[in-house]
């Protein structure tokens, strides 16, 4: 489904990604772990199409189509979703209005009619219940004054609404207490099926207790240095990243 080949990227002439290869198939959950500054968030931003990064080499294929030259919204229309580490505030725009706009823009791009209001409302109700969100929450301004947990829950709510092919969760566990973590993870698990895929980017193993990955990759200094099954995450938790460093040397 998502296939990244020899991806090199830089920001302000500083090389951050130095040849990433990653193959994610439908129905799979992949986790990328790594120390601070390894390039984890850069990778997620680049997949989503953030233009602040310069892709110098390599390609990003979604269902065989190279999307690396597409605008971020075009990638979104094709089913790329990024749950942001730091979701931005948009004052005066309600959660409902925002998601309604997003859904209809996607439908428009795919040559579909706008979603009828009753269908939209039904879906909003269903998905907000899945994430145990208060009804009042939906009429608040997007991310304005939200707690860390509310912000992340709102990200997963949007993911549930947009039903992406590939969802990238960038440090979704940061700023979450244990209850919120459980709700968010539960939401992700319920949304997962054999037609979509999830890429979890995390610093800690904690989230992976809830969202069980099929594959774990270790990203260090712009490269994937080690891949394995879910047990790799536990090993990392136990031994730390220095263990890999020493193993590499």
């Amino acid at each position: 489904m998502l296939s990244i080949k020899n991806l090199h990227a830089s920001v302000e002439d500083k090389d951050i990604l130095k040849g990433i290869n990653l193959e994610i198939k439908a129905g799979e959950v992949h986790a990328i772990m790594g120390p601070n500054g390894a390039g984890k968030s850069t990778l997620s931003s680049i997949i989503a199409g953030n233009e602040n990064y310069e892709v110098s080499e390599g390609e990003i294929l979604l269902d065989g189509e190279d999307i690396s030259e597409l605008a971020p919204e075009e990638r979104a229309h094709k089913g790329v979703f990024l749950s942001f580490q730091y979701p931005v505030e948009i004052p005066g725009v309600s959660v409902t209005n925002f998601i309604k706009t997003a859904i209809n823009e996607k439908r428009k791009a795919n040559g579909e009619e706008e979603m009828p209001a009753n269908e939209m409302l039904k879906k909003i109700r269903e998905k907000s219940e899945l994430l145990e969100m208060d009804r009042k929450f939906l009429s608040r301004s997007l991310n304005e004054g939200f707690s860390g947990g509310e912000k992340k829950r709102n990200e997963i709510f949007q993911m549930a609404m947009l039903e992406p092919k590939i969802a990238i969760l960038d440090e979704t566990d940061s700023g979450l207490d244990i209850d919120a973590l459980r709700i968010v993870a539960n939401g992700v698990n319920k949304l997962k099926n054999e037609n979509n895929a999830v890429l979890v980017i995390t610093h800690y193993q904690r989230l992976l207790d809830y969202i069980i990955p099929d594959f774990v990759h270790v990203l260090m200094d712009g490269k994937i240095v080690k891949s394995g099954g879910k047990e790799l995450a536990l090993e990392l938790e136990e031994k730390g990243y220095d263990w890999i460093k020493s193993e590499l040397n």
Partner: protein, 482 residues
């Protein structure tokens, strides 16, 4: 790279012609350029006005002749040559039309381009439209329904003929002839405008709406509006404006006077979208307007404005809170792009006891424009327990525009409470990227962010107007993030 960048978008938008920049070729009768007492008399005569009106105009003209154009506003422009302007232009067909069939088809076509065809407007529930085109009213609808309630809604020329006692009593009572340079000019030469009277205790059953349009090249437009809400009455009045694209600057100096008698309420909403000039700042309308309302005891006046057009705007819809417990409100969105300049705000003059005023101003600047809020809150010595709350928010797009706030507070009463809040923010790349990631293209994302920013004011507009206003915000700001 086949990608459509923001720069491409900018180029496209800069080249896009002004949406409403078309010109209707209707035979007009236009006075020669220039202004003197004879012209003032001729205007008055043309309109068959009574002597008191002619004298009132002449008095204004004499005052104007002695005055100089104000220069204190934060705007820079080449002053109009007042002797090069023609002060009267009217569509040649002078008979009122009994039905749409009789209306010049080209005129109807113009209305259709504006999206306000009479057909549609007639069908639109609850909206009566008094269309002012090139200074003379050509159609008035829903008059009968209003007449049943005793509501008078007509052109000011007609009111001068048919309700001279009301006009004579109230015209100039809130904005005197000598109030300021442009008000004096307007008083001398006003060609037409709207008049509205709501009798005692009557709640006007529909939104009253006027569409203004400047049509004749080189014709100044001097509208005069007078709205009187008698004791205990209520009216919501909408004013919407668009103008065709023109190369030379067009001067517009309107005067709007509102009178809310005891326990009356007037809501006055404006959406203004006059030609702002091209991307080099050439052309565009000069909008020098005096709008003021007077509140008697327990009365309330709300001004709501969405200003997206004009090259230069100089406008301060104000409230004189004369009566005890009266309320004044000002809700404003002012958008400037390219080389537009706006100096706009309000004056809240608290004279009575327990008077309250609220000011919410949202300024949005893009391109190389300058956007100033200028507001005065004045509390008189007798205004016990007066209260004011002001909030001025500015949103900037790009690095070449300016936002300025000039709040003036004059307080002569120690029991007054005055609050002022102000914020300045910038549309962030991260906000736009966030929207993009959710599938919302940049243009739409900006519209969404701007609408969110302006929400408190948009919410104050009547429903059908709010939709139009949102569209205007989008048109005026497309592609201006940088």
């Amino acid at each position: 790279m086949a990608k459509y960048t923001e720069d491409d978008l900018k180029v496209e938008l800069e080249n896009k012609e002004y949406e409403y920049g078309f010109y209707t070729d209707i035979e007009s009768e236009t006075f020669p350029a220039g202004l003197n007492e004879d012209i003032v008399r001729a205007i008055s005569k043309k309109k068959g006005e009574p002597e008191w009106m002619t004298d009132w105009r002449l008095e204004a003209f004499r005052a104007w002749s002695e005055m100089t154009e104000p220069e204190w506003a934060n705007v820079h422009y080449e002053k109009p040559d007042f002797q090069a302007i023609s002060y009267y232009s009217a569509p040649k067909k002078k008979d009122k039309y009994a039905s749409l069939d009789e209306v010049d088809p080209e005129l109807l076509d113009t209305f259709k381009k504006l999206g306000i065809s009479l057909d549609e407007q007639k069908k639109l529930a609850g909206v009566a439209v008094d269309i002012v085109m090139d200074s003379v009213s050509v159609a008035t609808t829903f008059k009968k329904t209003l007449a049943e309630k005793g509501i008078i809604f007509c052109s000011i020329s007609e009111a001068i003929q048919e309700h001279p006692e009301l006009v004579q009593k109230y015209i100039g009572s809130v904005v005197p002839q000598k109030d300021n340079f442009y008000a004096a000019l307007n008083s001398a030469v006003f060609s037409d405008g709207s008049f509205c009277y709501i009798p005692k205790g009557v709640r006007c059953p529909m939104e009253l709406s006027t569409y203004f349009r400047i049509n004749q090249g080189g014709t100044g437009q001097f509208e005069r509006t007078l709205v009187i809400a008698d004791e205990g009455s209520y009216v919501s009045y909408l004013e919407g404006c668009t103008a065709p694209s023109r190369d030379e600057n067009q001067l517009h100096a309107a005067v709007v006077e509102l009178i809310a008698l005891d326990n009356a309420e007037i809501k006055y909403s404006t959406v203004q979208n006059w030609y702002p000039g091209n991307k080099e700042g050439k052309g565009g309308v000069f909008n020098f307007v005096t709008k003021r309302g007077l509140c008697e005891t327990n009365a309330k006046i709300s001004w709501t404005q969405v200003e997206t057009g004009s090259a230069v705007t100089w406008k301060y819809p104000s409230c004189v809170l004369k009566g005890d417990n009266s309320i004044g409100e000002f809700y404003s969105i002012a958008v400037t792009n390219n080389f537009q300049q706006a100096d706009t705000g309000t004056k809240m003059i608290h004279l009575g006891k327990n008077t309250r005023s609220t000011i919410i101003s949202k300024g949005i600047s893009a391109g190389k424009s300058q956007n100033s809020y200028r507001g005065l809150v004045q509390i008189g010595a007798r205004a016990e327990n007066a209260r004011n709350f002001s909030q001025c928010d500015s949103l900037l797009m790009g690095n070449n525009c300016g936002a300025h706030t000039f709040p003036y507070i004059e307080n002569k009463n120690s029991t007054a409470k005055i609050e002022h809040e102000a914020t300045t923010s910038k549309i962030g790349e991260d906000q736009v990227f966030y929207c993009n990631q959710r599938g919302i293209p940049t243009e739409k994302a900006i519209a969404l962010i701007v609408n969110g920013f302006s929400k408190e004011v948009l919410n104050k507009l009547p429903m059908e107007f709010a939709v139009e206003a949102q569209k205007l915000l989008e048109i005026s700001l497309e592609g201006s993030v940088g």
